[in-house]
Symmetry: C2
Subunit: 389 residues, 2 copies
Amino acid sequence: MIGNFSYLNATKLYFGDDSLKFLNEELPKYGKNVVLIYGGGSIKKTGLYDDVLSVLKANGKTVFEDGGVMPNPTTDKLREGVKIARDAKADLLLAVGGGSCCDYAKAVAVSVNCDEDPWDKYFLRFEEPSCEILPVGCVLTMAGTGSEMNGGSVITDSATNTKIGHVFGSEVMPKFSILNPKYTMSLPKYQMIAGIYDIFSHICEQYFSGDDTNVSDYIAEALMKSVIDASRVAVKNPEDYEARSNIMWAATWALNTLIAKGKTTDWMVHMLGQAVGGYTDATHGMTLAAVTLPYFRCILEAGLAKFKRFATEVWNVNPEGKTDKEVAEEGLAALEAWMREIGLVMNITDLGATEDMIEDIADKVIVLTGGYKVLTRDEIVKVLRESLN
Amino acid sequence: MIGNFSYLNATKLYFGDDSLKFLNEELPKYGKNVVLIYGGGSIKKTGLYDDVLSVLKANGKTVFEDGGVMPNPTTDKLREGVKIARDAKADLLLAVGGGSCCDYAKAVAVSVNCDEDPWDKYFLRFEEPSCEILPVGCVLTMAGTGSEMNGGSVITDSATNTKIGHVFGSEVMPKFSILNPKYTMSLPKYQMIAGIYDIFSHICEQYFSGDDTNVSDYIAEALMKSVIDASRVAVKNPEDYEARSNIMWAATWALNTLIAKGKTTDWMVHMLGQAVGGYTDATHGMTLAAVTLPYFRCILEAGLAKFKRFATEVWNVNPEGKTDKEVAEEGLAALEAWMREIGLVMNITDLGATEDMIEDIADKVIVLTGGYKVLTRDEIVKVLRESLN
């Protein structure tokens, strides 16, 4: 059954190897005070920082710097960013970087005019913004999170290592995003591969739920196949523009709300991965990879029909003469083979997690109810333990 | 190669069996003068007319009627509609009906504040609007054209029987569209089937072009498979809400610009079908069905790799031990079998075209250059002649 829903996504996207020039079309729409948000400084090495700054200056903007956004942006950093934006009387937050920068910019955007503590309000109480929201623009340098065309923001509490994501509504989505596949080529291969798996996992989270099959599931399969095919090219040749373009474009559509329309979603791989990430500060996509297979094996019987479909439609498993469970397991084996082929981290031990952390990590796992199975505490611990190897 | 592009689609969609109530959220955004655009009066029989009118009145709107929009809206009707909207000092054009009503509303929207003749400016000279554009809202009663979330408008010149479509930019797209699958159930089965093929053809027009395969092609295949699967259910049971929902939602994404991003498109089936439609006033989707196979067979060798992929990915043709051409032809045979199964009109003779019209119809075919082959006059005549049987 397709459930009732509304859809609005008004982010303007500029895609291509010349897309930075369109910043000149967007900047005149906003006031003169721009906070330039970026990460550890890689954009200074690549020259993108200078390129963006020169477009900002040419458009008469006063630029305020907010650099040093970390891969898992913390509440300490968020509070610092809110102060920078307030002091700047910011008219626009321009995030230049990966999903973390964009997530962080959205968290600042909803907090600048809000008196309450953002962590308490948005991430612990999941409230919606009631204040004026600053506009966010994005120049994306990494494909993966989909943050460039959605309202999502994942923040880690500095005090408790708790990582929580809030998906805000369309009013928090970036007003514009500039997607140049060439920018993603400056990433280390490890980050590229982690981003690829982040995309794939986003699709799975929305796919593995629901009793019947609507258009969203067909599109999800298409995006998965596209990512699989392009990843095999990109891993061999990270400079392949076509492959990097497909990965970047698939990433956007994997998490801009479309493929969740009319259906339930799961997101337990993210809940497990984020709990691991809160403890290890490991790369997000790798935490997802490391917990996926134990989790999928845990819910396989509960979602057998969909796992069978996943096997035949995404991995071309021939179902003839096999039980549904055999077909489904063959699909997971094909998934595992692809994951190993592209070089993902396949266990949380390699990410720095140890046996003695399991109970604490399990404490931090938020249990969601949209998937095929609502995990018990014992099942969470079991999945995490199996993820050690 | 993924070409450079921009993407913006800000139409707000309300989807579901209770979606009309969201008109109450949208109407307060516009002034009091609303032109209610509808077709031959079927919405009066179904009660939808009364339902919409009562929401309009409850929101304090002054309603001006513009009924009688025909399946292929003409320039005579368009000029009449422009006068109605001008006299009404319209603040909003609300189209309640199928794609024709929505196409027509967009043509009125770009013409009300324009001094030039709309046919000359927009459809013969393909110019963009330079005047203020009226906002359009849509309550959709037929799935097929995608008009509810795009800038397209197809108009037929009353004087010359010439049918031309102009795809306007995002500023002409409906501000909101209400999609209730139940409304589509009031359609005669013939119209439902024609709509299904219109959707499928939209996808094909964007799929059968380009040398390599980007995300758009994968999504196109997903939409095709979804439409094929849902059509088989809907033809047996037109009251199946799930199937009608999937068809309606796939229709929107089949033609809201997404699957054309980064690639070339063809649209020659539409050029051929529209030329036939200009002469016969036949239902749009049926004209497309009647010319598709002769056209595809004409371009098959030029686009062999994509036709092979179409066969294996969409129709599960097993390629083992077969030449590429054999695989591709098996795909077209599967397409033909499905078309016959759901009851499409398979030749233009059944639509009222005759041998002696062929040369005149050929004169009206606009030859586009984005596909695998640029048709010569002789090839156009050949395809049309083959479409007679």
